[in-house]
Every structure is written in C-alpha cells, then in structure tokens.
Point group: D2
Chain length 215, copies 4
Amino acid sequence: MFVLVNLKAYPCDPVAVAEAAHDVAGSSGVRIAVAPQAADLAAVAETGVETWAQHVSPNEHGSHTGSTLAERAAAAGAEGTLLNHSEKRMTLADIDASLDAAERADLETCVCGNTPAQIGAVAALGPDSVAVEPPELIGGDVSVASADPDIVTDAVAAAEAVDDDIDVYCGAGISTGDDLDAADDLGASGVLLASGVAKADDPKAALEDLVSPLA
Amino acid sequence: MFVLVNLKAYPCDPVAVAEAAHDVAGSSGVRIAVAPQAADLAAVAETGVETWAQHVSPNEHGSHTGSTLAERAAAAGAEGTLLNHSEKRMTLADIDASLDAAERADLETCVCGNTPAQIGAVAALGPDSVAVEPPELIGGDVSVASADPDIVTDAVAAAEAVDDDIDVYCGAGISTGDDLDAADDLGASGVLLASGVAKADDPKAALEDLVSPLA
Amino acid sequence: MFVLVNLKAYPCDPVAVAEAAHDVAGSSGVRIAVAPQAADLAAVAETGVETWAQHVSPNEHGSHTGSTLAERAAAAGAEGTLLNHSEKRMTLADIDASLDAAERADLETCVCGNTPAQIGAVAALGPDSVAVEPPELIGGDVSVASADPDIVTDAVAAAEAVDDDIDVYCGAGISTGDDLDAADDLGASGVLLASGVAKADDPKAALEDLVSPLA
Amino acid sequence: MFVLVNLKAYPCDPVAVAEAAHDVAGSSGVRIAVAPQAADLAAVAETGVETWAQHVSPNEHGSHTGSTLAERAAAAGAEGTLLNHSEKRMTLADIDASLDAAERADLETCVCGNTPAQIGAVAALGPDSVAVEPPELIGGDVSVASADPDIVTDAVAAAEAVDDDIDVYCGAGISTGDDLDAADDLGASGVLLASGVAKADDPKAALEDLVSPLA
C-alpha cells in the first residue's frame, strides 16, 4: 500500500510533517509520500521523504506567469504529482497535457476522479495511477471505504478495464489503520489522506496508527 | 526606479539570474527584484536578492489543493507578489481576496492591468503598486514606452486619480537602458521585464545595460 | 427606482414571470426588467417587458463555441445585461471587454461587485450602473439594506467618487416594499432581486408588494 | 452520416442558415442539424431544422447566473448538445455533470476531444456520440480526414474499445463532399463543420455540395 499525504493549504509545518513521514516510512517499510504546496517542495524534499506536487501546469516552457511547470517541481525535488484533485479540477485537455509535462520531467502521476466513470475516463489518458475521492466525503470523519465501498470496487474495475497495470488509490475520510485495511480489502493499492495527518496534533503518531496494519 | 524581473516559465536557471540581479542591485544601488515560479522561491531568496511571487492564491488556510498561499510564498522568502498578470488573469473578487491574503502575509503587492481604465480599477482595490502591460506588446522587441507612450501617462493619471501615493510601473518590451529612461520620463516609477533578462545569454550584462541610466 | 428581476436558473416559467412584471410595470409606472437565461431571452422579450441578459461574452464575432455574444442577446430582444454577478465572476479584463461588447450592441450595462472597494473598481471601467451584492446575503431572507446598510452607502460613495452620473443598485435578500424603501433611503437608485419574485407562488403579487412604496 | 453545423459566434444570420439546412436535409434525406448560440435556439428551432445547443451547463436548477441549463435549451427547441468543444473546454467533472443534465432534459449528446486518448476518455462517460477535432486544424482549409487520417481511425478505435454502440464524428476543416466521403471511409458516422457553411456566401449551395456523395 502507498500512502500519500496531501498537505493542501492547511496551517501545518510542512517540514515537521515531512520528517514524521520520513521516520515512519523508514521504521515501517511502508511507502509514504508528502505533497506540500509548490513553494514548500524544496524544503520538504530536503527531509528525504518522497515528495509529490499537488498539481503541475499543462504548460511547456514559455511566456506563462504564475504556473508551476513539471520541470521546476522536479528540480525542487518532487518525484510525482497529483492531477485533477477535486479542489483543482482541470479540463480534460489540460489533464492530458499535464500528463505529458510530467512524463517530460520524469514525475510519477496520479489523476483523481470523483466517480468510477471518471476513473475509467482518466485511466484512458495513461497515468501511472488514479485515485477516487467522492467530494462529499473529503475532509470528513467517515472513510470512503466504509461509507461507500462500492465506489472503490467499481473504480478499481473501471480502471482495470482500461489498463491492467494501473494502480488505484482511494481517498476521502481516511485516517486510521482500519480505514487503510478496508481500502486494501476493496482492491485499492494505496490511499490519499490529508487532514487526518496534516491537522493531527501528533502527525507521527497518526501515521504510525495508519500504517500499523501493514507492519 | 524599481526593476522587477519576471522569470515566467522560461527555461532559464533561476538561481543564476537571481545572483546576477543581486550583484547588479548591489553595484548599482538600483532596487531589483526577481519573480520565479513558486517552486523556485526558496532557492532564489537564498541568493539574497529581493524575491517576488508571480501570483498568490486568494485562499486562506484550508482544504485547497494546488494553490500557493501568500503565507507559504512568504515563508519561502518572497517579499512581494504580482497579481492579475495578463498571463494569469484573475476575477475581480479574487484580486481583492489575494490582496487581503498578501497583506496578512506582509507581502508587497503589484496588480497588473492592460489599459488605463483597468489600472484605475485595480488601484481602487488598494494595492501598493500597479503595472500597465499592453498584452499585444508582451514578449516583443518594442517597448511600451516607445510604442504606446500615452498608455503609460494615461495609466499614471488613472492610478493617481484614485490614490496619490501609489506606484505605477510599466512593462512589455522593456529591455534596454533607453527603455527604462523612457518609462521614467513618462512618469512610471518602475519597470517589469521578463524575456529581456531571463532569455539573455548574459543576464548580468543585460541588467547592467538596463540600469545604466540610473547609475 | 429600477427593479431588475434575475431569474437565475430557477425552475420558474420565465414567460409567466415576464408577463407579471410587464403588467406591474404598466400599472405602477415603475421601471421593471426581467433577466432570464440566454435561451429564454426571445420568449421573455416577446411579452413586452424590458429584458436583460444575465451575462454576455467578452468575445467579438469569430470562432467561439458556447458563448452568448452581446450582439445575439440584443438580437433576441435584450436591452441590457448584468456582468460579473457573484455567480458568474469574470476576470477584470473580461469585464472590460464585455462592456465594450455591450456598447457595440447597444445594451445597457450593470456590473456587480461584492464590496464598496470592488464597486469603485468596476465603476472605473465605465458601465452605466453598478450593483453591490454581498454574496453571503444572496438568496437569503435578510435584505442587504437592513443587514448591512453601510455596505450600500459605502458603495454609493465609492461609485460616485469615480463617476457622478453612475447608477448604484443593491441586491441580496430584497423581497418586500420595505426592503425597496430602505434601499432608496440609503442612496441606491434600484434593486436586484431574484428568489423573492422568481420563486414566489404568485410573482405578480410579490412584485406589487415590492413596488407599493413607489406607487 | 450525420452533419452538424456549428454556427459558433460567426456573424451569419442563424435563421437563414437554419432554413438552408432544413431544405437540404429535406431534399437529400441526410440528417443535418444546426447549433446556434443559446440566444438563437428558439428562432432556429422554429424553422423546423434539428437544433443543437453548443454547450449546456453542468448545473441543476438553482442559484446560478449566466448559464444555460439543459432544461432551458430543450424548452427553446434543442434536441441535442455539444459538450467540451475545443473552444469551450470543460473540466472532466463538469462534462460528467452536463451529461447527466442533458439526460434529464432528454438531449442527445456529443462530447468533443482533441486526440484519440481523449476520445477514449470521454467515451467512458457514456455520451451518445463523440467527436474528434484536432484544434490545430479547426477553422482551416485542410480537412482532418486528409491531413491526419490516423487520428480519425484511432479515435474510432478508442471509442469502440470503450463502447461498441457509440457514434464517432470528426471535425476540423470539413467543407466539401470529398471531405465527407473521406470521413465516412475512415469509419466516422458523421461530421462537425462550421465556417465551411456558416461563412459561405451561399450556405445552401455549400450544404448541397457537402451532402452530394450521400445523395
């Protein structure tokens, strides 16, 4: 199982969370990555944790102001990027172009979708992985794996119908080891989480609890 | 005169340009700032040069993915931010909210507009400075100060009608000391430039030529 | 006082509301206009009521799909258009271009803003009128004129500081004759309303109550 | 073969083109539809021609200003709608929601994409048909079927891999009977065209030439 911690725009210390994630990844052997805002990529990568961007621009080098090119995210230390998160919805053509950009910059990609149909759609664009996150559960206390298990199994089926090798993650409401276990049982090969770690009083303890079923 | 070098998404080495700008600022006594992509803010600020963001989000802390909060731009070393650049047009309500965000994070602000009327409009929102850049001249070889001097004097008049104390910069096609001189004569108190430095074979020489009328 | 009824995307019969508005305008002598969705402009205009668009595109004639040109809104019978409504926020440059488009098509214009500062900003672009609508009050039961009277007087002051002749309307929560009276007392020369009429069981009775202080 | 004439924002008389299309459809037996701007839907539908919207909103009934609901497009006489045209790119989630909206309003749907991969993606969302239009050929003199025949056959393959029953149209540069023939040979079951008819001096003659291979 892959654990991707999206720091969003939470008022956390990104380096402190990154250090906790790096420690827990080391002690548990579980793959854990942290996705900070673009301005924090370099500081987070410096901790040694696997670092992802929350988004990269569909643009190539040129006259573009205020975007984060895949190339600069990679130069700052990112190894992967989320795309089309519910909080950063992209046009279909831009998802396609950002996947090309990520490939040029050698970034691993995870494209989000809200429904199994959307997961099938984004899988057709050839990302490394996809993530299903029902927007109504994001930021809540109820895990997608318990609130709506069918959406996870249907997303896995939709993605695999398009591409056998693709990884399918799930997100929304994930915070405990039980949630991780449930996601695993439903066929997901990873989880996206955010507030459960980024807003925890003790992010390290939260991550240790999360990965405990895998230890 | 203030010189703001927007690195846009050009394939330059942001640290090399920043070091050149820092050197020329030091030797000439001219205020020069560099605006890299968000992922490069920390590395650019580390050179000691005055560092600006190209854009900051209107958002406050919370569940937002893929944006750059003013607070994180500042934490990475930014001292100011552009807003509403022609290549990153914002809604009026978002310009207003990003100005609030910049104030919370203690960032200096420069809001761009395409026409004198738009400059009057953005001046009404209370930024520290405004910049007029006719989009048809951006990235070209002809300076706004020579191609369309009236737009600069009209922008200065429109801004000062709203706020006596506001600084007015001009951009588009600025690359030489003569362009800087012409902008100064038209009442601008600074210039925005991009390709003239960021794409120069020798950014330091380009900056030295640019600031030579002020030495 | 001018009364502009925005039908939004409510499930009302636009022609029935238009006929009611036409009747009440005729019997009361009050200027009342109705703003339906673009697809309903022709049917609404056919009733004889003053008809406004909810939005027009910043585009000129050309290769643009899925937009409503000012020219076609006018051809369908519109005499005016809202711009930059809180539910259809536009970039500053697009507001400017849509004002040009409306002028080409001889449409009267009303640009919305959320705050007095934004009202000052949009007034600088030269519309015929501006409207202040605090988004947190839109669709509610409490009128802006009673909940936040200062925002109306401040908006009037901000607009008049830029342009003596401009009309200032206010919206959000307006539904009764008392609300209209209060808006008038605060210096507004018109009101925008929506659900109070469009979702009323009897739109004609709602309009008659609304304009009763003016009779 | 289905012929869909997108009037875009061209300065044509929509009713005159609609009447020509209606005549040619009647005399040739070919299915021809016309897609005007939203404000012209009612007038175009009145001619009796099959009428399509250029776009419908993902929204349901509610507090939305400046959008065209599927329900109102249908009430004005539309029988189908384009979605995600290159000139009106939508987020993936909005394409999904607009397809739901179109289904509620009983509108036939055609979702556009730029590449075979994007066509596979949109086919996964369950529209009635898809259309491939390479943006670099739109509005030009060279037909997609001659300039880039592989993109058409690849799009047909990508769509059919997802859904056997889906119709695949192609667009960009289509203007003559030869273009229509070539599209047919490549497996397309219809064509989208715009300037070739909408900007023709004699739209009826242009349509007659276009459908001549099918007569």
